[in-house]
């Protein structure tokens, strides 16, 4: 019986294969010169008339007297342009010996005869014009997808510097980059990455800078994808990254065209996609997550002041709560007596050990943060009241936590916002909890042990072959933009770990 049923399912799959192979055969065939047959087959492909937004418009081309049909999907096509530059001229044509290309006034036109390619073009918003007696179709560029306009970047704010951010339309994003790099060596390649939804990814780089090996590596990684659909870059990032379980991000995600451009100019590769108001920059090092674009827009001392604040904030957010727990629990002799007495006095009425106390507050803080993110905006102010009053003041008055812990956690929480990059922010927040656990387990010894292991882990990460902490270690020729930046005139080198074709900036 088992065999039988197996055979049955086997036969079924075979039948399936046949039907799909029929489909494939149709898509690989050329279109015929018989207009009606062609239109019929396209109608069956597009399930016309069930499919509401597919339009077949028959036209008799005047002048040359030929029957023709325009096929397009009206929700993603610019109907106004089609009317004015295609249908109008075709109907009003006077000359009798003109070619179709000469009648139509739309900006791009292309002859294609493969059915599959025509379908792809139509699905991308272009219109196809079939003319009787011709065994190819004219593909007219008239795509128009709905999208918002270029707006301010939402998450990476700057005070000084350009404000515009990427939006969900890849062509707009490319134009924003081209606006900044007016050079013929800027290449925008497109690759189809998904089998069913046919999502395109755009690989943007400067061909006389980027290392061929790196480019090939990225292309191989993208080409190797075998999935039905990848909607946007946030998903693509997870498909192409190396260490999927690691808490450290290895691909930079930015929504600022100026930032993406400065990376391209250094020999990095940028990926763009429709539906993604952002760009992926690869490879990424630890420093690229730590930097923001503003530090280079601000003058040298101001920019470095910001960097100093950020590195301090990074350490404060990582270590304050765990250090507090370690010192109070294991190393109380380290604290000066007066301060120790003050801490002891506030902790007197609290029934929990310091570790539990800090953990409760940290957890509450993360909850407020997450709730603030998800809450519908009309109810937003409630979160502030709940967070500040109930969790802060009332918890202290109820002797659940001591006031000093509120200060410690608030300081750590506040500092964590200084790390702007969302992925690195998560890394820091998760590590904070890990450090807190190790501190409550083994005090400073635990913190140091975990920290050392963390550094060992960090130096062994590679993003597309580039060590995570380079150029700090292993050292490479570069402008030395690590914790602090140099004066612009001294940042003369592109990062050597990318092996760019031209190392020196002029």
């Amino acid at each position: 019986m088992l065999k039988k049923s197996l055979r049955k399912t086997h036969r079924k799959t075979l039948a399936n294969e046949q039907s799909s192979s029929k489909d494939i055969k149709l898509k690989e065939s050329d279109i015929q010169s018989n207009l009606e047959k062609t239109i019929d087959s396209f109608k069956s492909i597009y399930s016309y008339p069930d499919n509401q937004d597919v339009v077949f418009r028959s036209i008799e081309i005047s002048g040359i007297n030929k029957k023709s049909t325009i096929l397009f999907i009206n929700t993603i096509t610019d109907s106004k342009a089609l009317e004015d530059y295609v249908i109008g001229p075709l109907l009003n044509n006077k000359g009798s010996s003109q070619k179709v290309e000469d009648i139509i006034m739309i900006q791009s036109i292309e002859r294609i005869s493969k059915v599959g390619e025509i379908i792809t073009q139509i699905n991308q918003g272009n219109a196809a014009l079939f003319v009787e007696g011709e065994n190819h179709a004219y593909l007219l560029g008239a795509a128009k997808f709905e999208s918002r306009s270029v707006e301010k970047a939402q998450n990476e704010n700057v005070v000084k510097g350009p404000k515009e951010g990427f939006n969900e339309k890849a062509t707009t994003n490319i134009s924003l980059i081209r606006k900044r790099v007016k050079s013929e060596s800027l290449v925008v390649e497109s690759l189809m990455i998904s089998k069913r939804s046919k999502n395109d990814v755009f690989i943007v780089y400067e061909k006389d800078l980027v290392s061929d090996k790196l480019l090939q590596n990225v292309k191989n990684r993208v080409n190797a994808l075998d999935v039905d659909a990848i909607q946007n870059l946030s998903l693509l990032e997870q498909y192409i990254e190396e260490r999927k379980y690691s808490i450290f991000p290895t691909i930079l995600y930015t929504e600022r065209p100026d930032r993406a451009t400065s990376f391209i100019e250094d020999g990095y590769i940028v990926l763009l996609m429709d539906n993604s108001p952002d760009a992926l920059v690869l490879p990424a090092t630890f420093w690229s997550f730590y930097h923001t674009s503003e530090e280079h827009y601000l003058r040298f001392p101001y920019g470095n002041f910001t960097r100093l604040l950020r590195i301090l904030a990074l350490f404060i957010t990582l270590f304050t709560s765990s250090l507090y727990v370690a010192v109070v629990t294991y190393h109380s002799e380290m604290v000066p007596p007066d301060l120790l007495l003050a801490i002891a006095a506030t902790r007197e009425k609290v029934p929990f050990p310091a570790a539990v106390e800090v953990f409760i507050m940290e957890f509450a803080f993360e909850l407020i943060r997450e709730a603030g993110l998800r809450v519908p905006s009309p109810i937003g102010p409630t979160i502030g009241i709940v967070g500040a009053l109930i969790l802060g003041q009332a918890a202290v008055q109820a002797n659940i936590v001591s006031p000093i812990v509120v200060i410690i956690v608030a300081l750590g929480g506040l500092s964590s916002f200084a790390i702007g990059d969302i992925s690195m922010n998560f890394t820091v927040r998760i590590s904070r909890f890990l450090l807190l656990f190790s501190a409550s387990f083994m005090g400073l010894y635990g913190i140091t042990a975990l920290f050392t292991m963390g550094i060992f882990y960090m130096v062994s990460i590679k993003s597309f072959g580039v060590p995570y902490l380079s150029p700090l270690t292993p050292s490479y020729a570069s402008s030395g933009d690590k914790i602090f930046r140099k004066v612009l005139q001294k940042e003369m080198l592109r990062p050597g770990y990318l092996k760019p074709k031209d190392l020196k900036k002029r």
């Binding site: 590596n217 010192v327 294991y330 190393h331 002799e333 380290m334 000066p336 007596p337 083994m442 005090g443 400073l444 010894y445 635990g446 913190i447 140091t448 042990a449 920290f451 050392t452 292991m453 550094i455 060992f456 882990y457 130096v459 062994s460 590679k462 597309f464 072959g465 060590p467 902490l469 700090l472 270690t473 292993p474 050292s475």
Partner: protein, 369 residues
């Protein structure tokens, strides 16, 4: 993408050597020196450093003949399979005992000075866990970590020293020669093996970017180490005088307990993390050295996989002495005495055999096997 093996640059190399040898000044090595040389103990690192130039010079001379070959391969080539096996086995044993002794000492330091109530096995276990993790990452990674943390460690040491000098008394340094010049030289040179780690550095010869980097790095590192160790030891005398320091087992930790900065009276918890990081990196390197040697001797190609079991073994053997503060101290003293001739004579032997075999004449024409 295939992740190509990277070779180590000069910064990473120097950082590794400094952490390997320089960290010794923070355990009981200074006590051993002070015990015999009294208040001239700080001269021992300098005298030994000067003597050490000879074996290092000879080794470098031998090794520049063989491009990209490590200590084990050169030894195989010079001594032949059988004798090389015995020599390398001795080196391995010394290295292994050194790891056990040193980790036991460091565990004892943590246990007696900072975590008096914590069971030894937990302290030891965490120490070896971190080191084993670090060592399995690979040599380049150890180098990278060493260089990343090194500047901060050096700054913390300097801060400790500056505070020490401020609170110390320079007059304790006299009589400057202690028991007399001859005693100082004799007793120091008997403990030459505080620099024996330099012999093991030649295991890393193929991992270093170039011969030049190796030569320059080794000499620079030796210089830095001599300066670091002797200045630190001078500071110990400033603070404690020689009588006290002969009694102290772990002078560095007593120092950071004693010094204070403004309103912060006890600073040891501030210096502890830096010292811990240095120790973690140091023992990662030691474990890696042991794994290389063991892997070569018993023909285990992926020797990185040996590291976790080596680390476990170290924990269990290191736990055996009931009173590590005294027993291990004794063992370490003996080990220093035993390793000294090995460290001094082996380079001589290698150089002599290479010379007799006429290796230096046709240096670049010949390749081993």
């Amino acid at each position: 993408m295939e992740q190509s093996k990277q070779l180590i640059g000069i910064k990473e190399y120097i950082a590794i050597v400094l952490l390997m040898v320089g960290t010794k000044v923070t355990d009981n090595t200074p006590s051993i020196l002070f015990e015999y040389i009294k208040n001239a103990g700080w001269m021992a690192p300098i005298i030994n450093g000067l003597i050490t130039i000879i074996p290092i010079y000879l080794l470098i001379k031998v090794f520049t003949n063989y491009k990209g070959k490590s200590l084990v391969e050169v030894s195989d080539h010079l001594f032949g399979k059988f004798f090389s096996f015995i020599i390398l086995l001795t080196i391995l044993l010394v290295a292994f005992v050194a790891v056990i002794v040193d980790t036991a000492i460091y565990t004892d330091i943590i246990g007696t000075m900072y975590f008096t109530k914590t069971p030894t096995i937990i302290i030891y276990g965490i120490l070896m866990l971190v080191c084993a993790y670090g060592a399995t990452r690979g040599f380049e990674q150890i180098g990278s970590v060493a260089w990343t943390v090194f500047p901060y460690l050096q700054v913390s040491l300097f801060l400790a020293l500056i505070l020490t000098i401020g609170q110390g008394n320079a007059a304790f340094l006299f009589p400057i020669l202690g028991d007399g010049a001859w005693d100082v030289v004799k007793e120091s040179s008997l403990r030459l093996s505080i620099y024996a780690d330099f012999l093991y550095l030649f295991l890393f010869y193929p991992y270093i970017k170039s011969v030049k980097v190796f030569k320059k790095g080794t000499w620079l590192a030796l210089m830095f180490i001599i300066i670091n160790i002797s200045i630190t030891m001078v500071c110990y005398i400033f603070l404690f005088d020689y009588k006290t320091i002969m009694q102290l087992n772990y002078p560095y930790h007593e120092v950071i307990r004693t010094i204070s900065l403004g309103f912060i009276i006890n600073m040891e918890a501030f210096f502890l993390p830096f010292w811990l990081i240095a120790s973690f990196v140091r023992f990662s390197i030691y474990l890696y050295i042991n794994a290389i040697l063991l892997g070569h001797l018993f023909k285990i190609k992926h020797f990185e996989y040996l590291i976790p079991s080596l680390a476990t073994l170290v924990v269990f053997i290191g736990m055996i002495p009931e009173n590590p503060t005294f027993i291990i101290f004794d063992i370490k003293e003996k080990l220093l005495l035993i390793a000294t001739p090995l460290f001094f004579l082996l380079p001589f032997l290698m150089w002599l055999i290479a010379k007799l075999k006429g290796e230096f004449k046709h240096a670049n024409k010949r390749d081993i096997r």
